[in-house]
């Protein structure tokens, strides 16, 4: 019972979740990355005459409707989807938090602008942002990254603003102000470093959400164009085989679940670890 308590408690035993989560993510991404590199310059093994073959030693989970290895193709798709989600969150983190911190540091006007951005962002659903971007600039990796980032920016603005406002309200900031430090120095030396743990947690949680959103976008055909494999588009192109080859729909689906689950667990583990550190210090 004691061990159980340690596993499930939020603060005491976070390493297990971290380890399991990392295992899920790395278990998909490492073989995926190897395959990704191997197929960097080749069209992904299309062989029409070997389409929809059952599992063999060469193709562990059989081949897909265009004769590609189902498992390998899904794993490479996972690397692309994860990479796109990750990069979009880096972008959203940078822009969103930047605006949020500015809003907290500067006066009322910036705050109003930041709030406007947040609410406008909420009003435009991600699929519509993506549809507009894709129509305007054509489908592409960059467009997809931007569409996802735009959708997640409001969350980071809000978080950045709240976190920064909390830190600005602390006594040591007042002390720093009294000792005539410039606002920029205060921002760089005291505010930003103290925001890192919270942002990191939010970042990993959002990467998981972005993965789901990315899968949805590419499922609807708003992702990057072929031949670049992405999990959503793979699912969309396999779904018509749900009755005759159900495993084709299962494989990319399970890969998505593993990645998102793993990322979430890593995020939770990180949060708990930071919480414990704070507790100790």
């Amino acid at each position: 019972m004691n061990i159980l308590k340690r596993i499930t408690s939020d603060t005491r035993f976070p390493s297990l979740g971290l380890a399991l989560g990392s295992a899920c993510v790395l278990g998909v991404l490492v073989p995926g990355a190897v395959l990704w590199l191997a197929h960097l310059h080749a069209t992904f093994g299309i062989d029409i005459h070997a389409r929809l073959k059952p599992p063999t030693f060469a193709h562990w989970l059989g081949t897909d409707p265009l004769g590609r290895d189902t498992l390998a193709f899904s794993l490479v798709g996972a690397v692309n989807s994860y990479g796109i989600s990750y990069l979009s969150m880096v972008l959203a983190l940078g822009l969103g938090t930047g605006l949020g911190v500015l809003a907290a540091a500067a006066g009322q006007k910036t705050k109003i602008i930041a709030n406007g951005v947040v609410e406008l962002g909420i009003a435009f659903p991600p699929i519509i942002i993506a549809a507009l971007l894709v129509t305007l600039c054509g489908a592409g990796v960059v467009q997809e990254i931007c569409a996802l980032a735009i959708f997640f920016i409001p969350g980071f603005v809000r978080l950045g603003q709240q976190a920064a406002a909390n830190i600005y309200a602390q006594d040591y900031i007042a002390a720093a102000r009294l000792s005539a430090l410039t606002p920029w120095r205060i921002l760089l030396r005291h505010v930003l470093p103290n925001m890192v743990p919270g942002l990191l947690v939010q970042f990993s949680v959002n990467v998981a959400l972005a993965m789901l959103a990315e899968t949805g976008l590419s499922y609807l055909g708003l992702g990057a164009p072929p031949p670049l494999p992405e999990l959503g588009r793979i699912l969309a192109s396999y779904q018509v085989h749900i009755y005759d080859h159900p495993h084709l729909v299962a494989v990319p689906g399970v890969v998505v679940v593993l990645l998102v689950l793993g990322t979430n667990m890593v995020g939770d583990g990180l949060r708990d670890r930071f919480a414990r550190q704070e507790h100790i210090s």
Binding site: K5, L120, L132, G216, V249, N264, M265
Partner: protein
């Protein structure tokens, strides 16, 4: 004093927001390649035919004039005429809301109820096998793409068990129960992942309050667990949970496009995507404005609720702001 002015400030700033949103959407729609008339008339259309339709739709006027016509029409309660369907936009929206509103309503109610119950339950059961099992299930549900879940649900509950229809909307004129039955599976597909997210937040929020020293004091005063939960824990943990709910509501009105697609439901989400693809600017405008309006109303309600639930938080906020 501030509290009395608050609604006016709130409404004023939101009006600016609405105008901004409509400007953004209008001009980004007109920037898009592709011409609504070309979409309507197809590949073999001749130039004079296109010109005739342009004139009919008012597309031969300059952009600011087009926007002005639309905006003044709106002031008279006129959302404009759909390019594609050639009917008033409001009648299209009304048709779609008959599907979207109940769907969003059911999904939201289910997500909130399930999420709160599970969250509070797992928090009070912290450290037991039950908690572990539920948390595992919650983590898993959070990781499932909604359209994949929708496919699995249809395969099992509709095609194997025949408990629910596999898709489509029966329509209200067929009687309420048939209509509701056709919304069950999509509502579940929408609600489960959201409920999981909420349960996770609720659990953390409740645990955070449970760990506060004053809870020990309350227990020491001989309050039962239920009393502790209802009187002390929930009022303090609900506001942060409500904030999460407020983020989920607009998603339920518009972000349902994929699930609607799998179940062949024709809601506002589907209408919005269809309208973007057909360059049906008046319809896109109306849909986006509707969503912004929902966001605005819902945020106002939530702020009010938050103030009612935890007056000390509201006063604390005002104090900090001052």
């Amino acid at each position: 004093m501030q509290n009395f002015l608050w609604p006016f400030r709130f409404i004023g700033s939101r009006l600016v927001l609405l105008i901004l949103a409509s400007l953004i959407i209008f001009f980004s729609m007109t920037l898009l390649p592709g011409d609504p008339a070309e979409v309507l008339l197809g590949v073999d259309a001749q130039p004079d035919t296109l010109a005739a339709l342009h004139h009919q739709l008012g597309l031969d006027q300059s952009l600011p004039v087009q926007y002005w016509h639309w905006a003044t029409g709106l002031l008279h309660g006129n959302f404009g005429q759909s390019y594609g369907y050639n009917v008033p936009v409001w009648s299209l929206l009304l048709e779609r809301l008959q599907v979207s509103l109940p769907l969003a309503g059911i999904a939201l109610t289910a997500a909130v109820t399930l999420g709160l119950l599970l969250g509070v339950f797992t928090a009070t059961q912290r450290g037991t096998w039950l908690d572990l099992a539920f948390m595992g299930a919650i983590q898993f549900t959070k990781a499932v793409p909604d359209f994949w879940l929708a496919m699995l649900l249809t395969g099992f509950f509709a095609l194997s068990l025949h408990w629910f229809p596999a898709g489509g909307f029966a329509g209200w004129e067929q009687g309420g129960s048939a209509a509701l039955r056709s919304l069950v599976l999509p509502a579940v597909a929408l609600a489960l992942p959201q409920a999981a997210v909420l349960a996770r937040y609720t659990r953390s929020a409740v645990i955070a309050v449970l760990d506060e020293p004053f809870i020990l004091t309350a227990r020491a005063h001989g309050l039962s667990e239920r009393q502790v939960l209802c009187r002390h824990v929930l009022p303090r943990s609900l506001p942060s949970v409500l904030a999460v709910v407020s983020l989920q509501i607009p998603l339920l009105l518009s972000g349902t496009i994929i699930v609607e697609n799998v179940f062949n439901l024709k809601g506002t989400g589907a209408l919005l995507l269809e309208a973007v693809n057909q360059r049906d600017v008046p319809v896109v405008q109306a849909c986006v404005l509707l969503i912004v309006a929902v966001v605005v109303v819902e945020k106002g309600l939530l702020q009010w609720l938050e103030m009612r639930l935890s007056p000390w938080l509201a006063s604390g906020r005002n104090g900090r702001a001052a």
